[in-house]
């Protein structure tokens, strides 16, 4: 089958071309960069909301993009089970558009933070983690100023297995030192009940090529590979 992924370009998205590069040249899948006002869901098997500062993050990160017509299209995909992935600002948009529970607040340090962290896989049954093992520890970078995950329904999330990634130290221990932004319960990524929509603060597109990775790992690519695998299985 000819799989086709849309990477949405909102005004001031800035990791859109990075995700496009990784899909086209590393994962070797056909992906298009689509301007948010032009996006039509029927042409695509999956959609990625990339990182960046849509609409300058003015008012609140993700809130203005959440009202873009692109999100009406994405909602159709969400509802019929196609994969919807939000990375960093994309995660913020997904929570603001209420595709995903919770909210992303200013980092506890009040500073933007750019560094490599470790994540533990808490749920490997989503459309984006099916090629990972539960409790795997992966290397991946973060770069955000508003990434402190907050929810008033933590128990519900835990009970429903919606927590996909947690920040850990190198050995996989969930500690406050390894929490880069003060997220509740070290949460780095959550999914919807069906597992076809994932939002995460870290950047898998920056961790998909060994040349960019301090340890030479390409763990981020597994997230995109899982997404493609999910699409293939779904259509089979």
């Amino acid at each position: 089958m000819n799989i086709k992924i849309a990477v949405i370009e909102f005004p001031a998205s800035n990791c859109d071309r990075d995700a496009l590069h990784v899909l086209n040249n590393v994962v070797n899948i056909k992906a298009d960069l689509v301007w948010h006002n032009h996006f039509k869901e029927k042409d695509y098997d999956g959609v990625i909301l990339p990182g960046g500062f849509s609409f300058g993050d003015y008012l609140r990160a993700g809130i203005i993009a959440a009202h873009s017509p692109a999100m009406d299209e994405a909602r159709i995909m969400l509802e019929d089970g196609r994969p919807v992935l939000g990375i960093c600002n994309g995660f913020q948009i997904l929570t603001e558009a209420q595709f995903l529970p919770g909210a992303l607040l200013r980092n506890e340090s009040l500073k933007f933070v750019c560094k490599w962290v470790n994540l533990k896989i808490e749920n490997n049954k989503t459309a984006f983690t099916n090629k990972l093992n539960k409790a795997d520890i992966i290397d991946i970078p973060i770069a955000h100023g508003e990434g402190r995950y907050f929810t008033d329904k933590l128990k519900e999330l835990v009970d429903n297995d919606q927590i996909v990634f947690r920040y850990t130290n190198e050995k996989g221990a969930i500690t406050s030192d390894s929490n880069p932004n003060g997220s509740m319960d070290n949460i780095a990524g959550v999914c919807n009940l069906e597992g076809n929509c994932l939002g995460l603060m870290p950047h898998p597109e920056r961790a998909s090529e060994s040349i960019l990775s301090p340890n030479g790992t390409t763990h981020g690519k597994i997230i995109f590979d899982s997404m493609i695998d999910f699409i293939k299985k779904r259509s089979a």
Binding site: A12, N37, G52, G56, A143, L212, P214
Partner: protein, 748 residues
């Protein structure tokens, strides 16, 4: 300040009486008040380089002398051909005065300005580097406030626009306390065709002139005259010249501009920076040999009732002017419509060589297009300061502490300690090009996706050395910054500079400037490094004491590395390797961090430069690289060799056993050996089995190559062979001190 009068209006202008007479003579009439304002701006130091131009002539003609230089000084940015059909643009400039007053927006709009300069060359901005200078932080809330908000301003603006900040430099010195230095550099990458599409000239008559981006408001009127005066001259009332940064609009301008260029219909491009529309229109037409007719009514303004003076001189941010082929107008406008960017066709070019601006039926500006871009120069007096002899004669006191205590003090000092607090706030990885993580190398390294080619870049200088000897200090700065890219495996390809000095009307300040320019010019000519651009910021002085800042000729170098395997990094890789010191260590402690931190003194003998020796060292290093003989490399600078070695130990927690017996013969005292900042030296990690080969090569080049130690498993630096007693440094303790100084000052 002289006043000019025209039909009832009065204006204070920063022009000399000669300039005023010359303008009247050439026009054969009194200019309108708007025209006076335009002359005032265009002839300001900031736009016309009237003091600096005679000295900048010392820089050789890069476009003429180097076939790979596509654009040299005088353009918005330098551009070089780096092969594989790629053009690399880069530039550095200052935003000192605005940042000293409103650090957050001052720094942010500085980033905005440098991004526009690169964009003007038709290429995508792909990296930022920021050399910054403040007063010392300890017990100084004002310096802390400036530092905190300058960094935040850069971070918020750079991060939002999606351009990674891959390098920089921070220096703390009391001379920058009230006049901090915020220099901003940007690198852009595109194809040779992209670059050729977008000259900053309007060569053809009948093309459309489009203004795109932010609206024109009353903000920033006379921003450049502000940059051309000292802070001392200015009252609070002058200060609303500070602009508000809008990185969101800037990001949209980047994308809309690049997409417009791709239509093939854009024939000229110019950003609106200092001098606003006046500057942009006169440079486009004056340098292009055309004229233009502009309808002021078409310009979208932010506030009602703005007059032609305000519109022509507004320095509102985030605006670009496009020159577009008549047949391509609709295509270009459609791009701006897609991005929902405000835009207007404000006029057309013609062949009159006259710039005309209409306000309704009134012709408010009617000037020969070259009148504004053709500024006279002012010869300035130079005088070597009298205080220098005393400073140079200062002697290093006998060490008051043990050497190990001094090293611990140094590694924790503001100028040497880790700058992680700064770079963690910058997105240094967006764009998926950054292959070297901050702290792993002396320079920032970017890959060019789709090739096996890498760009290495570094910025900085040593203002303490320049203060004592601007000629050799500037050469030393060149050596240090070139050394940064060389340490990572790149050959320096080209340089741009940003000269930050005091009041050019003060002969001592101008002497520092003249000597620095001469130093850079001589060095670059000798080493065959083209100087492809520069920026001059004068009038940097202390608000209270009126003393000038330390002379700061900031240098930016770009280099190219062919092949991933040829990237060299700084951390020690293995235990049991040789540690070599390349280059000669001389008793040069003047302007060193050792003098400054331990004795609070600024004088002494600063490093001297011998280009012949430097050239041989560089050739030697590249021959080692070609033979794959280098595991790690780091250039020696602030703090001397032990600090350099410690930085190489930290990442992989590898220690070193040093044997300095080889220096026993020479006349160096222990503190001179350890803390000298002699320029052009490198510390390398090499394989034991390659020792003979390397020493033979060193002999061939007749340079100083000394084995000074071996890497060891123990996390310590053991120092043997000193004239006084030997000692051991604990790496964990050093790293702790290195990491905690700035967080302790800023976050506690």
């Amino acid at each position: 300040m002289p006043k000019v009068n025209t039909s009832g209006d009065e204006l204070d202008v920063n022009l000399t009486d000669d300039e005023i007479e010359r303008i009247k003579d050439e026009l054969n009439r009194d200019p309108s008040i708007t025209e006076w304002g335009m002359f005032d701006v265009m002839l300001s130091e900031h736009c016309s380089y009237k003091s600096s131009r005679p000295k900048l002539k010392l820089f050789e003609d890069a476009e003429k002398n180097y076939d790979y230089v596509l654009a040299g000084p005088g353009q918005d940015a330098g551009v070089i051909d780096i092969g594989d059909n790629y053009a690399l643009a880069f530039r550095i400039e200052s935003h000192n005065h605005p940042s000293a007053i409103e650090p957050y927006h001052g720094a942010a709009t500085g980033i905005g300005g440098i991004i526009r300069d690169i964009l003007c060359m038709g290429v995508r901005p792909i990296a930022l580097l920021d050399p910054l200078r403040f007063g010392t932080l300890t017990d100084n809330p004002h310096s802390q406030w400036l530092f905190k908000y300058v960094v935040k301003g850069i971070a918020d603006y750079g991060n939002c626009t999606g351009i990674p900040t891959i390098g920089g430099e921070v220096e703390f010195d009391k001379s920058f306390e009230s006049n901090c230095l915020v220099n901003v550099a940007c690198i852009g990458l595109g194809t040779i065709e992209d670059f050729k599409h977008a000259p900053s000239r309007a060569y053809n008559p009948r093309d459309y002139i489009i203004l795109m981006g932010g609206s024109t408001g009353r903000d920033g009127i006379h921003g450049v005259t502000f940059a051309s005066r000292t802070l001392t001259d200015m009252s609070e009332a002058d200060r609303p010249a500070v602009q508000i940064g809008d990185p969101f609009t800037k990001k949209m301008i980047i994308e809309a501009t690049l997409e417009a260029i791709k239509t093939g219909h854009v024939r000229g491009l110019k950003d609106l920076g200092g001098g606003g529309l006046s500057c942009a229109l006169s440079e486009l037409t004056g340098d292009g040999g055309t004229g233009a007719s502009v309808d002021m009514g078409k310009i979208f303004i932010r506030e009602p009732g703005m007059n032609s003076f305000e519109v022509m001189l507004s320095e509102s941010q985030e605006r670009m002017a496009f020159i577009v082929k008549p047949e391509g107008l609709e295509d270009v406008l459609n791009v701006f419509r897609k991005f929902e960017m405000a835009h207007a066709v404000i006029g057309r070019t013609d062949d009159t060589q006259v710039l005309k601006v209409y306000d309704g039926d009134n012709l408010v500006v009617n000037l020969p297009a070259t009148a504004l871009s053709d500024a006279p120069t002012i010869p300035r007096k130079e005088k070597r300061p009298d205080f220098l002899d005393d400073l140079l004669a200062q002697k290093t006191p006998e060490p008051s502490k043990k050497l190990d205590e001094i090293i611990y003090d140094l590694i924790a000092s503001e100028n040497i300690c880790s700058k992680e607090w700064v770079y963690r706030q910058y997105d240094h990885e967006v764009g998926v090009r950054s292959v070297l993580k901050c702290g792993d190398g002396d320079s920032g390294i970017l890959r060019i996706i789709g090739t096996n080619k890498f760009i290495s870049s570094s910025v900085g200088t040593n203002s303490k050395h320049c203060f004592l000897d601007p000629y050799n200090g500037s050469k030393g700065g060149m050596i240090e910054i070139c050394g940064n890219v060389i340490a990572n495996g790149a050959r320096p390809k080209a340089m741009v500079n940003c000269c930050n000095f005091g009041n050019p009307e003060a002969p001592e300040s101008f002497w520092y400037f003249a000597e620095s320019v001469k130093g850079m010019a001589d060095f670059c000519r000798e080493m065959k490094i083209p100087i492809v651009g520069g920026n001059v910021s004068f009038y940097n002085e202390d608000e209270v004491t009126k003393t000038a800042i330390k002379p700061t000729p900031v240098i930016m170098i770009v280099g190219i590395i062919e092949g991933e395997e040829n990237i060299i990094t700084l951390p020690f890789k293995d235990v049991g390797s040789d540690v070599l010191l390349i280059g000669e260590t001389k008793p040069e402690l003047g302007g060193s961090e050792y003098h400054s931190v331990i004795y609070d003194m600024e004088g002494g003998t600063p490093p001297n430069v011998n280009e012949k020796e430097i050239k041989l060292i560089w050739d030697f290093i590249f021959e080692l690289y070609e033979n794959n003989l280098v595991k790690s490399n780091h250039d020696v600078n602030k703090g001397g060799i032990i600090i350099t070695i410690a930085e190489m130990c930290f990442k992989n927690k590898i220690g070193v056993k040093l044997d300095l017996n080889t220096f026993k013969e020479g006349g160096l005292k222990d503190d001179e050996l350890i803390f000298s900042e002699s320029v052009g030296r490198f510390v390398m990690e090499t394989s034991k089995s390659d020792y003979d080969k390397i020493m033979d090569l060193g002999g061939k080049y007749k340079i100083s190559v000394k084995k000074i130690g071996t890497t060891i498993m123990e996390p310590e630096i053991q120092i043997n062979g000193l004239k006084t007693s030997n000692f051991t440094l604990n790496l964990k303790q050093m790293k702790h001190l290195y990491d905690s100084t700035i967080p302790n000052l800023m976050d506690k």
